[in-house]
Symmetry: C2
Subunit: 261 residues, 2 copies
Amino acid sequence: MTTPLISAAERQRIRSGAHSGPTAGLAPGHVQANLAILPADWAGDFLRFCQANPKACPVLAVSEVGDQALPTLGRGIDIRTDVPRYRVYRDGVLTEEPTDIAALWRDDFVSFLIGCSFSFEEALLADGVPVRHIALDRNVPMYETGIACVPAGRFSGNMVVSMRPMTPRDAIRAIQITSRFPSVHGAPVHFGDPAAIGIRDIAAPEHGEAVPIEPGEVPVFWACGVTPQVAIRNARPPIAIAHSPGAMLITDLLNTQLSVL
Amino acid sequence: MTTPLISAAERQRIRSGAHSGPTAGLAPGHVQANLAILPADWAGDFLRFCQANPKACPVLAVSEVGDQALPTLGRGIDIRTDVPRYRVYRDGVLTEEPTDIAALWRDDFVSFLIGCSFSFEEALLADGVPVRHIALDRNVPMYETGIACVPAGRFSGNMVVSMRPMTPRDAIRAIQITSRFPSVHGAPVHFGDPAAIGIRDIAAPEHGEAVPIEPGEVPVFWACGVTPQVAIRNARPPIAIAHSPGAMLITDLLNTQLSVL
């Protein structure tokens, strides 16, 4: 079993600038999280949006106002420096992708950390269910769908999903396994026909990288923690900061601790 | 909540000859069971076959040799009279379908009662997942597949499956719900392309009645308690007695008692 020291060491490496890319495979066993930072006067609406859309936006932690720490996720976390690459949205438009946000920090910022499918992928692999994008060493393909999230205040938008191709047999097992992890997106939201959820071209994901679907496989779709970035683009707060998809916050929590069964 | 008196009353009605057809919908809430009766010198192999193929042949109870009672399933059960319609196999060939088997009873007979999907269908309906053949008041469609069961002694054969068409969304929920019921076939074994499990014509089930698959739905397949009858046909014991598909033993157990979660 890994120890929290591994996660702390990886955060330190990221904080130092030695790693600024995707975090898949780093600190095995540890929970990684999606990030959304909003000014306090936008935070209430955003938290209600997450509460109303728990499959896409399962909240693992919310910071105190202006506080860069996240004590329930790990000792010594500084959210201004510990994510490898950030995305800064101004009035809903992506303007920059820095590797730290110390210069942008405001004392009214609230950080939301949202569950990530890396946690359940580890459980799938441990159970012998292959995960195509990991086997191919690619970022998971992510698609903007036609599934409307439940709006809350100024936040609204369609769900983003991640896709993993599987045989029906593996998909059934994957539904069982991921159902045990409601705080990291839980069971899939769809399988099979992409058009049924408004995906136009399965070969052209809006985020991440495409992967091949082999004969006898079906695409299986999970709600994705990039969904909040769609809602932020739509809501157009004067400033919001998220992670670059795939470059997550590494926490001290263990994936197994998120399993409810 | 229903009480055991309802199940006993239905058994009495069946025993009297007043009901000789399918048992779907009778004694709501109570477990119904598939039947296989074999001579004692065939029973050991058959029990090993069931043990090796638990999804198709989940054993709820095995009688004492020569004993018509099944005390763990219900007070006063007489397996010679309490199933609405039986199927008698001689040397693996179906020869008759009587409504009682008192005249055929032997003191070396062993009865096997095997879980039935009626139990999880009740849980599906209670959760708002529609079940097509129930809505259409038909027997569930059942197919002989190319999925080989694990052989045991003289018993071998391919799995029989039941099929329910569902939207992917309902199928995902159904996988969660039926996973809670391992003793009544548990999670599906397949969904989607029928040919992938050796089904030639989805419109022509070998047992039960066909149901339409609507646009946007996929067929979802569960292992079925008719599988033992295929194994009996192949093994050709001098005599074996089963139930007529759909005409089950009604027990005093409650479906909810079979849920593991």
